[in-house]
Amino acid sequence: MTFMQKEWRRAGLLLCGAVLLAACSKDNGPAPEPGPPGNGNSVKTGVYRIVNLVADTNATSSGDAVSLYYSLEENRVIPASQRQTGNWDIVFYGIYNSSVYPNNGTATGSPAFGGPGKALLYLVVDRKFDAQYYDTLNFKPHTLPIPSSLWQSAFDAVKTVPAEDNRFLTRDIALDHFQSEFDGWGHYDFYGSLFPGNPKKAHIVYSMPRVMIVKTHKGHYAKVMIESLYKNGPANPTRDDKPGFVTFTYAIQMDGSKNLDIK
């Protein structure tokens, strides 16, 4: 018997033993329960800031941008192919990704429609606070750029969920009073009327220090503030700034409570 043959025989014996051992192990327990969808890497309660998140940088004014789906629970982008799943919470949708929809499968025509999504959305509007930068009668900013200190104070001012779930939306929060009577998260200056005579100031979106409350698909509350849709978040954007880059801050409460006083 050559060395190789001996080795093969030894390997064969080991294999037989392994098979026997495996056959002896008792394994009649129930199949493991399927895990939750997604990769299960939920974030902790805390404040998260996402800078220059690449949305549709090729978007034009002639149609909807490519939607950007986001999971606040896991702080990551979700592929559009999973829009009818519970994996995401909000989507940046529509022209220049300027509308925010919750993942709510009951909303006809929404990107979540048909899916299992239960997320909800609510815009906090405080007219006294708004008056610091905003003409509350004509629905447009009166001070531009909006003082940077207002952003942090607007975010901090929301210490709890200010409304019951039945006041929340299943549809989008979009641009403020643009072709609608609804309050929005940002002001769209279609004609450049805030800066007359400056063609680089037409078709500009000014983010405003306004906080949206998201009830995530899994039922946690979060507050979200969009800081900019332009690259590097310029305080006073012009047409030279590149759209399609989302910067936003959110705080999420994972203990199931409505406490949004999160540092």
Binding site: D27, N28, A31, P34, P37, S81, Q82, Q84, G114
Partner: protein, 250 residues
Amino acid sequence: MKQYLRLTAIACCTSALLFPACTKTEIVAPPEEYPAQILEYKIVNVQGEPIQGAINEKDSTIAVYLPIYRQLVTLEPEIKVTAGATIQPASGTFIEGLLSIFRKKGPIKYIVTAANGRTRTYTLKIEAQQPPVTLEELSASATDVNEYTLDMKPGFSSISFTVKGTGFHENHDLLEVLLVDESGKEYPPLAVGLSTNNDLTRLNISIAKFNEPYPPIVTALPATGLYKVRVYVYGKSATMQYPIRITKLQ
């Protein structure tokens, strides 16, 4: 003699009774201890009750019926298998891009492996429940064809036509209109305009050449050709009988 007959009868009866006992005993295998079997298959990424799949053990298939009004393009199955068995792809693995799955008709298979190593393969059959798709012809006949010209010289030029028919859907994400050439090759999808009056029997189609990069269909079209218009709506499709001619002027 009578007695002889009686004896014969008794012998016959006895042998009739005995004979079956002489046939070889057939040993029927007991059921497998850990059979590889799918016990439940349901689609859970929906509002309300899940969509139950119908499991056919005889031909190892799972049938899932999807009504078009649900507009589902992704499925999240929750699968229960027999104790100790595992399944690939695992329960909860998304089925994405349902529209292309409908078109390719590529089967989705599940392999269940029992604890004893035995495997069994199930085939998933996804059935779209929707009205049939029908199309009105653009051309009058196979020889009398409508002609369209896309002139590449000016900054902007376009072709447009209206596809009339039935079985379309208000959600244009669920439908696709494309050209099929004489060899059966499918071209990149055509732009479907928003219907101004929500008329679900018409699709406004355009091929527009403007700024570069041009839409894939503009680049893909050769100098001239005959094409049939094909419309996919969710899990069904229809193709026009007569072609149209499209010429691309360089």
